[in-house]
């Protein structure tokens, strides 16, 4: 055996552990979920009857599934641009600060490192109506009308988006700051010498050079908002995704079908749909946003 072959073999030997981990822990359940989506399995029954595409037909007939799908898209549509724009703005400001920069960074990253269940509940209490909710008590003390927030079918979803944006900003700010510090100062100085104003510096130099970071964060945040669950589960009454399904995302729909109604066929069919959506959007984003910038 040649040395090269030996080396390759050793490499594969070491890769065997993570590979088998991925195969059994990741891919096997995925493939089995695809299979279950064509059956009528109810979790505790030993038999799985093959039912063809009927689970897929049924979920698209189910108005709650359609609402959940729409809500999921709303979470992404409201959430991702807000997170990206706000965290970019904050990162640009923080980048100008030289004193106590790490302290500010810590403050922004705090919500992100706090357990999601805890932050969700704190926000749930802050959104309460008087006499408990801090936000409404504040409005009340100013003589302004109070709001329903989580108790309204129109305000609940944006309220949960706001909480999630607040959480995600911490993570994105850190990544943006790292990206900003990677931009060579020479480019900015050269542009300034050529007479570029601050606006031009931002839109012609900084943002184009940040493009890889923006792509990465948009993809990550889109996936995070597509898979939103914990916040909604903890911020709606009994984890229902209410009021009247107005906050229910796809993942919560899947969870309820699988572990409350024990309807694994329907749940896995919805999972496959979510998988395809995430796959599609991610490919699209990588194609559209990932433009190489060279100076």
């Amino acid at each position: 055996m040649k040395l090269r072959h030996k080396k390759t073999l050793t490499a594969y030997l070491f890769l065997l552990v993570p590979l088998s981990f991925f195969a059994f822990i990741r891919f096997y359940p995925m493939i089995s979920a695809f299979y279950i989506s064509f059956t009528d399995w109810n979790i505790i029954s030993p038999v799985k009857n093959f039912v063809g595409l009927s689970n897929y037909v049924n979920i698209f007939k189910d108005p709650v599934f359609r609402i959940s799908l729409l809500n999921t898209l709303k979470y992404v549509l409201y959430g991702v641009p807000s997170v990206i724009i706000l965290s970019l703005a904050l990162a640009l400001l923080l980048n100008n600060i030289t004193k106590f920069q790490s302290f500010y960074r810590l403050i922004y990253v705090m919500p992100y490192i706090t357990p999601l269940v805890a932050t969700s509940w704190v926000w749930r209490w802050m959104y309460q109506k008087p006499p408990t909710g801090i936000i409404n008590n504040f409005l009340n003390s100013l003589g302004l009308p109070t709001r329903s927030f989580l108790m309204s079918t129109t305000e609940a979803l944006p309220s949960i988006v706001a909480t999630t944006v607040w959480i995600e900003i911490g993570y994105c700010v850190i990544i943006f700051l790292a990206g900003l510090q990677n931009i060579p100062k020479e480019y900015l100085e050269a542009a300034r010498v050529d007479g570029a104003n601050r606006r031009q510096l931002l839109f012609r130099i900084t943002i184009p050079l940040l493009n890889p970071v923006i792509v990465f964060l948009s993809v990550m945040e889109t996936i995070i908002f597509l898979r939103i669950f914990t916040q909604v589960y903890n911020m709606s009454d009994q984890g229902s995704g209410g009021p009247l399904n107005s906050t229910k995302p796809l993942v919560l729909y899947i969870y309820q079908k699988a572990f409350k109604s024990f309807d694994m066929g329907t749940a896995t069919a919805a999972t496959v749909v979510l998988f395809l959506i995430i796959l599609g959007i991610t490919i699209l984003q990588l194609k559209v946003l990932n433009k190489k910038v060279q100076y």
Binding site: I43, P46, P131, T132, Q238, N245, K260
Partner: protein
């Protein structure tokens, strides 16, 4: 050294001889500290009575109950007796997990003699009975005596009818300058026990029935007045709303709600919180009393046969004996399922009203409790959040729930 080894071997030999000839049965329940301790104690008593039987007690977290049981069935390693929520019986039976209780041991006469009437109905599925409870839970009206005093109401006289309930609730409600409720007269939380109150109590009091006799047809839409009574509390009388102080339990425990309809399982927590509360039977209407009861029950699995089955029958009977029920009330705080035992506590100011409620209680046969609860939650939300009429909302609820029932009954081929 050799001698120690000999002693050890002799002891082991003796132990194995002692356990030889013993029948071992396995009991499964989810982990809830007081229940686990009580069962341990009960098993000790049982083994004293039947030294030839050994009961192994296995517990696991509530969250993994169904997954755990599901995994054990095909493997044949599951329990002989399993403790399950009565609402899950249909699913467990249709999945081939439970065996019917032997008619020779658990006849109709046995059930009638030892249990409240709703129990027999609650454990029955397609003509056969599958499990027996130790204890049951029912609903009652909790009222805060301090807040009654503050509102200049007699702290020892709770409302007896729905009309009185509304009048008193109004007097007990406080608002801020903008009209926001700061103290609820009556907590209204369909996601808590409210949906049971609407379904099994109000619907019957307003002259209807929530379902047909075998729970295959939804019929509550015929009495929209039941839903209207509930939503009027929120929209007309403004004595509370769903989500006030987050939920009814928090509101009542923090003394921000003067009255609440809740289950017997709340007693311990309220006592611990030091609330000066009283318990009354649910208010009646049109002379009709009704209540909702639910329970966890012990069933025998298909894996259990032969001498194990005999042992399991003995254990099941012991679990449902009067002695165990008394111990259960004392240690766990759940109500005895046997009317004879219950009668002993009728004068108890706290347990009495719950126990009297059991006489006229109904145990809803849920096929998917979470989804069915959601239906009633949505029915209330549509009225107070969307301004839809109770008639229309109840009709929509009935359609949605009927679809859930149909799906289930079709899947079991009825």
């Amino acid at each position: 050294m050799k001698r120690y080894l000999m002693v050890l071997l002799t002891v082991l030999l003796l132990l194995s001889v002692m356990s030889f000839g013993k029948v071992k049965i396995v009991y499964w329940q989810y982990y809830f500290e007081t229940k686990v301790k009580a069962i341990d104690e009960i098993i000790k008593e049982f083994q004293k009575l039947y030294p030839e039987i050994e009961v192994e007690h296995v517990t696991f977290p509530y969250e993994s109950f169904n997954e755990k049981v599901a995994a054990s069935v095909p493997a044949g390693t599951g329990p002989d007796i399993v403790n399950l929520y009565y609402g899950w019986i249909p699913k467990y039976v249709t999945s081939g997990y439970l065996q019917p209780l032997p008619e020779s041991e658990f006849s109709e006469a046995y059930l009638n003699a030892n249990f409240f009437p709703f129990v027999a109905k609650g454990v029955e599925f397609m003509g056969k009975r599958y499990a027996l409870p130790i204890a049951v839970r029912s609903l009652a009206l909790f009222w805060n005596k301090d807040l009654f005093k503050e509102a200049k109401l007699d702290p020892e006289r709770p409302p007896r009818t729905l009309q009185e309930l509304v009048e008193m609730a109004k007097k007990l409600t406080k608002y801020d300058r903008q009209g926001n409720i700061v103290q609820a007269g009556l907590a209204t939380q369909p996601s808590g026990q409210g949906h049971h109150w609407i379904r099994e109590v109000l619907t019957r009091q307003f002259g209807g029935a929530p379902y047909n006799d075998d729970y295959t047809q939804v019929t509550y839409q015929a009495v929209p007045a039941a839903l209207k009574f509930y939503t009027d509390l929120i929209t007309v009388h403004k004595v509370g709303y769903p989500g006030f102080m987050n939920d009814d339990i928090t509101a009542f425990t923090s003394q921000a709600a003067a009255m609440n309809i809740d289950g017997s399982f709340r007693i311990a927590a309220l006592k611990k919180a030091g609330i000066n509360f009283g318990v009354a039977e649910l208010p009646e209407y049109n002379g009709i009393k009704s209540n909702f009861a639910s329970f966890w029950a012990n069933g025998i699995t298909k894996n259990c046969t032969g001498e194990k089955l005999d042992a399991a029958i003995k254990f099941l009977k012991f679990l449902s004996s009067e002695k165990v029920m008394e111990l259960w009330l004392e240690k766990v705080g759940e109500l005895p399922a046997n009317p004879a035992v219950a009668q002993k506590y009728y004068n108890d100011p706290i347990y009495g009203p719950f126990l009297k409620g059991l006489e006229y209680a109904h145990a809803t046969m849920f096929v998917d409790e979470t989804a069915q609860r959601q239906v009633i939650m949505d029915a209330v939300d549509r009225v107070w959040l969307k301004g839809i009429s109770p008639e229309q909302s109840f009709k929509e609820a009935a359609q949605t729930e009927q679809a859930i029932l149909d799906k289930f009954w079709n899947s079991v081929g009825k």
